[in-house]
């Protein structure tokens, strides 16, 4: 066995190229903001600018086919891109975008014409996509859609969409297009009554409203650096007699569940390589767990925290807990990367890692409070620890739904182990 994830010679050479390019191309004034809520529209636009540059270079979707504008790279090279960006506090793409869910959907289920029309704008960073799956009544049961997309009586090439979605999108509205799951046949049986669209977001009759939520983010769930890909804000989107031409329909009129399943497999963390039709998502890159590192750093180097640990030696065991779970998380990610590299399929592995990460993130909020005391609950510049990282992760640690609730992930794992339905 070989656990080494250090760059090999080719990777090192490519990394130098990437670093030079990033030095040159990261827009001036782009700041690293851990707290997505504090990201100004100006900062968001700088990030979109960077997306465009990465996209034109083929680096926004490095592993996707070059014929549609992707990078056409191997996993080893894409890993370099992810890592070099992460080292600068940036994710790829460097802002909230569901393009990474839309792309495999189109690639696996779209027609050749759709691939040629829809993929290049995504891969080149010209459009921001929001996934629109969740509904007020749907929840974990994604098959239970109420939003209706019915073929127009007068114009059979068009669907008329009515209904609403909730808890969708991120900073800043509006996006350019939606990955939209609808019910296309109220009378057909479950799983045979849905339709999936990649639809423009500016059609007449669409209204987008922000929600006043517990600021969600991916930080508490992922413990990773890239606050910049967290949604920051979620929205409701309402459709009132919206006409969508069927050139935006992915798959058949009643194929929505099949198409959605392909998408959800990606979202639920199937990184084992073949789950999305051979399209990996940079799974061989194992990101650093910045939150864990910061916590351990505070324990060692912040005199107040260190004193606290010396006065309360049992808290040191909480520190060790965090270290151990962080190591297990890293090793599960490494295992998945290893599976992906050797083309071995272990369908439980992806969602297992996602679930571990999620439960770790939730437990971590309690452990941080124990370890760090009230410092963990303020993002005060003077008294908060490690920028606003701790307060942000406290906030997001309770929001475990995005990317699949733990319960949804357990259903997926049980299916993968062939015990659940």
């Amino acid at each position: 066995m070989d656990f080494s994830i250090a760059y090999n010679r080719e990777q090192e050479a490519f990394a130098e190229e990437v670093r030079a390019w990033l030095d040159e191309n990261i827009p001036e004034g782009l700041k690293n903001t851990r707290d997505v809520l504090k990201m100004s529209r100006e900062q968001f636009l700088l990030r979109r600018e960077l997306s465009g540059k990465l996209g034109r270079k083929g680096w926004l979707y490095p592993e996707y086919p070059a014929q549609y504008g992707g990078g056409g790279m191997g996993a080893d090279s894409s890993a370099v891109l992810y890592k070099e960006c992460a080292d600068r506090g940036l994710s790829i793409p460097p802002h909230y975008d569901s393009g990474k869910l839309a792309a495999p959907t189109i690639l696996v289920c779209g027609t050749e014409e759709q691939k040629e029309r829809m993929l290049p704008p995504i891969f080149k960073g010209e459009v921001v996509t929001w996934q629109l799956f969740t509904e007020p009544e749907a929840g974990t049961d994604e098959a239970n859609q109420h939003i209706e997309a019915l073929r127009s009586e007068s114009d059979r090439d068009c669907f008329i969409v009515n209904g609403g979605k909730i808890f969708v999108g991120g900073l800043y509205a509006p996006p350019d297009q939606f990955l939209l799951l609808t019910r296309s046949d109220p009378d057909a049986p479950r799983h045979q009554n849905l339709a999936m669209f990649i639809a423009p977001a500016d059609l007449p009759g669409i209204e987008i409203l922000p929600l006043d939520l517990f600021p969600p983010g991916t930080l508490g769930q992922t413990c990773y650096t890239a606050g910049d890909s967290a949604p920051g804000v979620k929205h409701s989107v309402f459709f009132d007699d919206v006409r969508i031409h069927d050139s935006f329909l992915i798959g058949g009129d009643r194929d929505g569940w099949k198409v959605a399943t392909a998408t959800l497999t990606v979202e639920h963390g199937d990184r084992s390589g073949t789950g999305t039709g051979g399209v990996s998502r940079g799974g061989v890159y194992i990101p650093q767990n910045v939150l864990v590192e910061k916590i351990l750093d505070q324990c060692k180097n912040n005199p107040n925290v260190r004193k606290r640990l010396e006065k309360n030696p049992h808290l040191q065991d909480t520190m060790v807990d965090i270290f151990i779970d962080g190591q297990i998380e890293r090793l599960l990610a490494t295992r998945n990367a290893g599976l992906s590299r050797s083309g071995i399929r272990a369908p439980y592995a992806g969602p297992q890692h996602s679930l571990f990460l999620k439960m770790f993130g939730t437990a971590l909020t309690a452990k941080m409070a124990r370890l760090l005391g009230p410092y963990a609950h303020t993002d005060d510049e003077e008294w908060g620890l490690a920028d606003d990282l701790f307060e942000v992760s406290q906030r997001s640690g309770v929001c475990v739904a995005p990317g699949g609730t733990p319960e949804a992930l357990k259903i997926v794992i049980s299916r993968a182990l062939r015990i659940g339905r």
Partner: protein, 373 residues
């Protein structure tokens, strides 16, 4: 055995009048505004609750209060926690009054307590500092005495209800020990800054920059404030725990109801074993918090040895409230991330209260020391 865990008639009545009051006076929009405010209360609300006796509940009758036992205060605060109603009622009416009772001279009790009971003055304790600690060693603020009184210097961090308070009970080092000083908020040199953060609650940095206070500000005996303070804190903790019990029970009740009504995959989510397990975990946390809390209150009211019980209650109730909130979010999922959702109200409260008067790890360490001694 005389075991009897039911409420007395007057406790039952207090509970129902309190819930009626909350229903009537603190509708949802009011509650939201209070939770977002710097004080957690308004002049009007403060006046009303003083009128119905919340602030003088455990203050003896001779000092203008009602003189109820602590258990009765627990019943009140359980009801407040179920809402969860913010405000300085615990800081002033319970902890503040207890400190004055334990530390103050007779004259000071006569002077301060009736004012606390009427809400004319609002107390809060300013104890913890940048080097956060619940031990006397954590106190670095100084009060140097001069001919006119004291000069106070230091920073008090994570001070709850500082904006709502009119007076601080400041814990400071004096020549040969630790003393308690009652300092009016509007005194020159006192500076407040609310700590930002979603889960920071209404806690403040309070800076005392060469603040001059008269000799009469000294509460009780010079250099001997710590012991009285400790006793007052011990007596107050279980009342705060009861507030958390109310929170736990309220979220459990809500989640149970939701799990019966919310339909997913064509059945109520309460039919799913995973949801059942969350519900079972929630009620067990809530019950653990409840009975450790009320036993501690009973021991305090009946003058039994109780140190372990108080530490136990605080360790259990703080953890319970935290976990029940987290589980509540898992039962409700998406909808509960709304700032306007009741579980969110409780989550913010539970995180902040986790540390007030000592986080569980502090109290667990106190238990360990007692078990080994």
């Amino acid at each position: 055995m005389s075991l009897d865990l039911s409420l007395t008639k007057s406790e039952e009545m207090l509970k129902s009048t309190t819930l009626d009051f909350l229903e009537r006076e603190i509708p949802r929009e009011t509650l939201e505004a209070l939770l977002d405010s710097d004080t957690g209360t308004t002049e009007t609300i403060l006046k009303k609750v003083a009128d119905i006796g919340w602030l003088g509940l455990i203050i003896p009758e001779e000092y203008g209060g009602i003189g109820y036992p602590l258990t009765t205060a627990g019943v009140l605060f359980e009801a407040l926690g179920s809402w969860p109603l913010p405000g300085p009622y615990f800081s002033s009416g319970i902890l503040g009054s207890q400190i004055v009772m334990e530390a103050g001279t007779e004259e000071q009790k006569q002077q301060l307590l009736p004012e606390v009971a009427t809400g004319n003055i609002v107390l809060t304790l300013a104890l913890t500092e940048p080097e956060y600690s619940w031990d006397p060693e954590g106190v670095k603020a100084t009060a140097s005495s001069d001919a006119d009184g004291f000069v106070l210097n230091g920073v008090k961090l994570f001070t709850p209800d500082a904006q709502a308070a009119t007076y601080f009970i400041v814990v400071a080092r004096t020549d040969r020990g630790i003393s308690l000083l009652v300092v009016e908020k509007k005194t020159a040199g006192v500076k407040l800054r609310r700590l930002p953060g979603f889960l920071a609650g209404r806690t403040f940095e309070v800076t005392f920059d060469s603040v001059k206070v008269p000799s009469s500000a000294l509460l009780g005996t010079m250099d001997e404030g710590w012991k009285a303070l400790e006793k007052a804190i011990t007596r107050s903790i279980p009342v705060l725990c009861a507030y958390k019990v109310g929170g736990c029970q309220a979220i459990f009740d809500l989640a149970l109801k939701y799990s019966r009504e919310r339909v997913q995959f064509s059945q109520p989510i309460g039919r799913f074993q995973r949801v059942q397990d969350m519900i079972i975990e929630m009620i067990t946390h809530a019950d653990a918090a409840r009975w450790t809390t009320y036993e501690a209150l009973w021991k305090l009211d009946t003058q039994q040895p109780m140190a372990e019980s108080v530490h136990l209650a605080k360790a259990v109730a703080s953890e319970a409230y935290w976990q029940v909130c987290t589980l509540g979010h898992r039962v409700f999922s998406g909808v509960s991330y709304s700032m306007e959702h009741t579980v969110s109200f409780h989550t913010r409260t539970s995180r902040h209260l986790y540390n007030v008067l000592g986080e569980p790890s502090y109290h667990r360490q106190q238990i360990a020391a007692r078990l080994l001694s």
